[in-house]
Structures are given as structure tokens and as C-alpha cells.
Symmetry: C2
Subunit: 222 residues, 2 copies
């Protein structure tokens, strides 16, 4: 129903973002508006607008009269985003635990607090659901502005977080940790929930860093 209102700009914006997520456009790649316009079967105007949004979102940069570039990997920036993400989610948990009721948590419970046999095992799907878990946690606390900032951070981290969830142990751990966090929130144990969540994110971050460094090391050797 909302799709009717999708403009050409929106379509191109989504498509480009997806290409970046899918590594069809690699970090550091350079391209022109004309190229994108041809590929997307549109004129430069909506392409420019879409690129402008993506720039504001932190995915691409424009070089004055010299083309566009997919933002190169910047590990310091990723660390900052992880840190900010942790702050936001800790704040969200604090708010959640202070609330009397939080019906918004129900869908989370229904997905994550399930017996082992009902759990998913497909890596990419679990990554998607992991993202949803953290986003919904922030959304549930009722501060839409917080949720918006958090969503942007989540998207910007998606590129490297996909490296996680490639191995079964991490998937299993994710289920276990999410379960623990939810139960702590339900029991209104703020500090415990915060501690668990911080550990959960840091662990995932460490995993990603490890693999990323490995990839970098390999790349340098070639």
C-alpha cells in the first residue's frame, strides 16, 4: 500500500544501498552519476538525489566534479559506531526496565525464547533477525528519535557484521545470549541485562574484528 508512493528516487536509493550491502559496489569503488542513471534507467536528477541521501547516511562521498565513491572501510569509524550502538542499547534497556509494561517485547519473546528445535540455522537469516532484535529493543523503549539513530548505525555496521554469523557456534551463542538478555529485562534486572547486552555486542564486535584483520592480512599478502 505504501509502495505506490515509491518515487524513482526512492527506488534508486534502495537499489544503490542494496548494491553496497551486497558488495556489488565495493568500498572504495568510484562511479559516476551517468553510469548509475543508465543502469537504473533514469535521468541524473533522481540519481543525484538518491546519492545525496546516501552521502548523508554515510555510505558514499562525492568528489567535487570528480565522481562518487563508496566510502572506504574505516575501522576507527566502525569502532565508534559500535560504541555508540552500545550506549544507545544500554540506555534503551534502562528505559525498558523502568517501564511498567512493555508489550512491544512480546514479539521478541516469541521469536527468541523458543526451544532449540524451533531455532533457525541459516546464517544470513539469523543475522537479519539479530539486527531486528537489537532494533526492536530500542524501538520498544518508545523513543522514536533514538530508534532512528540506532537504525542508521545498524545499517552502517551491516557491511561488516555480515562477516559474523557464518559459523554455527555464533548462531547458537546468539540465541542463548538474546534469551538471557530478554529474561533479565522481563525480570527488570537492569544492570544484569545491560552487562549481558554489552558483553554480547562486544563479543560480536571482537569476532568481526578478528575476521576482518585476517582478511586484511590476506589482502596485503596478495
Amino acid at each position: 500500500m505504501t509502495s505506490k508512493r515509491q518515487s524513482v528516487t526512492d527506488r534508486i536509493y534502495d537499489a544503490l544501498k542494496q548494491e553496497i550491502f551486497d558488495f556489488a559496489l565495493l568500498p572504495g569503488d568510484r562511479f559516476t552519476e551517468q553510469e548509475v542513471a543508465q543502469r537504473m534507467q533514469a535521468s541524473r536528477t533522481p540519481v543525484r538525489e538518491a546519492l545525496s541521501r546516501l552521502q548523508r547516511d554515510g555510505f558514499v562521498t562525492v568528489m567535487f566534479r570528480a565522481g562518487w565513491q563508496v566510502k572506504p572501510f574505516d575501522f576507527e569509524k566502525f569502532d565508534q559506531l559500535y560504541e555508540l550502538r552500545i550506549f544507545l542499547e544500554l540506555a534503551a534497556i534502562k528505559k525498558l526496565c523502568e517501564q511498567q509494561e512493555s508489550p512491544a517485547l512480546d514479539s521478541l519473546k516469541n521469536f527468541w525464547l523458543v526451544p532449540v528445535k524451533d531455532r533457525l540455522s541459516h546464517g544470513p537469516t539469523v543475522r537479519e533477525q539479530d539486527e531486528a532484535f537489537h532494533c526492536q529493543l530500542v524501538e520498544a523503549c518508545g523513543n522514536e528519535e533514538m530508534a532512528k539513530v540506532h537504525r542508521n548505525i545498524t545499517e552502517r555496521l551491516r557491511i561488516i557484521r555480515r562477516i559474523d554469523f557464518t559459523q554455527a557456534p555464533r548462531i547458537e551463542a546468539t540465541y542463548k545470549e538474546h534469551g538471557k538478555i530478554l529474561r533479565a529485562i522481563i525480570k527488570r534486572r537492569t544492570l544484569e541485562a545491560q552487562r549481558l547486552l554489552q558483553a554480547h555486542i562486544l563479543e560480536s564486535q571482537a569476532e568481526v574484528q578478528k575476521i576482518t584483520l585476517h582478511m586484511l592480512h590476506q589482502a596485503r599478502q596478495t
Copy 2:
């Protein structure tokens, strides 16, 4: 030096934002791209781009083929922004207190930790400096992404925060409170600094709410 690179779009973006801050464009006001283009002596293209940025920043909204509107006051949103701002600044203080050194704090000390006779008294100037205080606090902790989010929030709250700082007692209080916060940070008393800062912001928020409600009440009576 950086001004050379200011495009027409940038100029219009800044000008429009300033007009919104100055209430030359009032919340709820509707206008067209053509109007702005004429006023700014430019074509619709850069106007559109500037408006698009302002929309993303949360200052205006576009109505499909029906003109633009300065975002009307939304007090619930302001509360959310205040809350988010507090979270960010508390996190910044935590980081600052954990750091060994923080030379970035020096300019803050030089401005706020001064004898009474050296203090400014001009309301608008102090408001500007108050904004700078909080922004620099976040910048000093070294997370640029955090600082960026915080800056956007600060700008969006500027419209209502200008109501504050109209009375001498609030200016005096601001000096006193900022001084206390800085001293607590210098002594690495994290919790005390956080408590002071939260109280400081909540007080300012309460003041703004009081005056705003008063204004609304008056507006309804006319």
C-alpha cells in the same frame, strides 16, 4: 578558507536553516520551492537539494506535489530529543572520566571557570556558548559519530532552547552548573559529573517547558 567551496546549495541550506532558527519561517508555515528560489536568487535545483537536506535533518517536510512545510512544533519529539541528548552526554562524561588526559577540555575550562567579573551576561551569546559547552564536551570524548548525532540534536532543540537564557538568574545558574560539572570531570568523579549534568539539562528542559506551556496557553486564549 573552506568558504570557497560553498555551493549555491550550501548557501541556501544555511540561509533557510537560519530563517527557521530566527522564526522568519515559523513552524507550520507552508512555502514553495519557487518562492525560495526567487528569494535566494537561484533556480529550483539547489533549492530542492537544500530542502531535501533540511528534511533529512528534521526541519521541514514535503507534501507530495503540494508544497513544503516547516515542521510544526512537536513537544513529544522535543522530549525525546532531550532524553537522547542526556544519554549521549552522560556517555560522553563516562568516556571522558575514563581517559587519562583530555586536552580538549582546556578551552572549556578557560571559558567557564572564570571569576564572576569576567562572565558574559548577554543572553543570546550565553546560549550560544552553552550549546558550545555541551557540544565540545561530547567532541572531547573522541567519538566523532557521537558528536555528529549530538550536533544534530542540538540544532533541532535550538528553536525552543532560545526561550531559555532570557533571564539573568538562568545565565548565572548556567555558569555555576557548568563550572561544577567541569570540576567533577577534572577530578574524575564520573557519577557526580553525570548527576550534575543530568540535573543541569533537566532544569533547563523544565524551564523551557514551563515557558512554552505558558506561550501555548496564551496562544489558545487569543
